[in-house]
Assembly symmetry: none
Homo-oligomer: 267 residues x 2
DNA sequence: TCGCATCTGATTGTATATGATCGATTCGTA
DNA sequence: TACGAATCGATCATATACAATCAGATGCGA
């Protein structure tokens, strides 16, 4: 990872969580402690973050720490190979001619790549997903009506008389902010709203969650485990972490990251 | 691989990912490190990318996620200078903070260029218009729900309980297939349907029709002249062709094609 | 086909970034 | 206040990126 990439990643993270520890960054950036310290110090000198013991802090502290999910443009770069592996496994669950729903998010965005050859009816609230599907596939695409929220990149209507009331999907594919014994958790109220709407339009809920999501918590539960039929994660997940889902009768699929996925970063 | 090819590939990659490392490009271009450095430096001198240690960065700020290119090749390059002149005149009718509706079409697509600095509430059924607005402006964008029709590039729902029932526009900007004493004519039933829906959501209908449209006829009348408040055309229109509209109490604006508009073709 | 100009890839020396180590400092806690 | 643990900054060896240079390859026009 380039110095510049680390810097912008740190900046976004700091902006998002208002505070990040060196330890967090260690996992996330895959760089050494020394480098991360240097990065933080550089950014602090430029006045872009505030240096604090153990990490970095936003210059303008946020009132509600940890309540907002990462903006699309940032989380796009995180766990790319895992997301791709999960997306490939998810695509295998789809059969030709089906009608599916794709909730917006970077994990589900990775799914689009594997839908190029399909012949599907797809409903998605994600503008980028719709755009990519439009450009790279021949699937029929339906959008819900509403305003485009730039940060989250989703289309959402504040009203009830939604066009999607007339859509029914065999399967809903969704990512999440966190996934644990309480169910699907999200950090952004807007995303909760969007996801809740989609949940009503299907029975079969498939959650695509890379293993880091299993350790992530937040304040908002979108839905409990009873609503989930399948979970797809990557091989970074510990078996004991998955027990609770299996006990709840959920089908758990562990996708292996292939070499191709690793390389995909470059392509 | 030719230098040109490498350059455009690098630009494309930088555009897509915001940052590319020399190492990435090494694998991808199959050229030597020295060549890649030279390429990056050349592009940096031209200001097309930013040189950073270890690679290249997009000039455009990172926040705007990149949208996949949209197919919209149809009649896009017909009468470009006229359309641009008309679009500029149309943009002058818009005041800040307004809420407007833009019907899909190549003439109205030209309008987007002139909305970059505005602060508007915009409803459009056109996917490309929404995409371009999203990428180039800070306006609030609303989409109607429905399926994306690829050929016409519009979003249209076959149902009545439409999200746009909750939208009201001060002005509707629309193109047309033909425009004459009968009113607005269209050739595609789908477009008629889309346009009809939008007509209900405003009082002030502004038709953008280059002069060739005044001689064009078709089988389907979308609405009569009484519904139209303003017509914008170009100076290719003969005065006598415009009489019938003026007689119907419609404001007619004739936009002059400037040199800049002519040149825009090439850009 | 030849010769010139340009492009390309390898090499070199230098500058910079990185990661590991270690002693110093700070923090939490008793 | 005293202790251990965590964090920090400094230092150094190594790894990586860089510009400059040159020889060979390639393209192009005469």
């Amino acid at each position: 990872m380039l110095e510049r990439e680390r810097h912008s990643l740190i900046l976004k993270l700091v902006e998002e969580r208002s505070i990040v520890s060196v330890g967090d960054l260690l996992d996330l950036l895959g760089a050494s402690e020394a480098t991360i310290r240097r990065d933080i110090n550089t950014l602090a000198e430029r006045g872009e973050v505030k240096r604090i013991r153990g990490g970095a802090e936003a210059v303008r502290p946020r009132h509600q720490p940890h309540l907002v999910g990462m903006p699309f443009s940032l989380s796009q770069d995180i766990s790319v190979p895992q997301k791709r592996a999960i997306a490939r496994a998810a695509a295998e669950l789809i059969t030709a001619g089906e009608s599916i729903i794709i909730n917006g998010g970077t994990t589900t965005f990775a799914l689009v790549e594997f839908l190029a050859e399909h012949d599907l009816d797809i409903l998605t609230n994600s503008f980028p997903i719709a755009a990519k599907l439009l450009a790279t596939s021949r699937n029929r695409i339906t959008l819900p009506g509403g305003t485009i929220f730039r940060e989250q990149n989703i289309v959402l209507s504040p009203f009830d008389n939604d066009t999607i009331e007339n859509f029914w999907g065999n399967k809903l594919f969704t990512g999440c902010y966190g996934l644990n014994r309480f169910g699907i958790m999200e950090a952004d109220p807007l995303i909760v709203q969007a996801q809740t709407k989609l949940l009503k339009r299907t029975e079969d809920v498939i959650v695509m969650a890379d293993s880091s999501k299993l350790r992530q918590k937040s304040a908002m539960i979108v839905t409990g485990l009873e609503r989930i039929s399948t979970i797809i994660t990557d091989d970074g997940a510990k078996p004991e972490e998955l027990e609770v889902f299996k006990a709840a009768g959920i089908k758990v699929i562990v996708a292996s990251v292939t070499e191709d996925d690793e390389l995909q970063k470059l392509a």
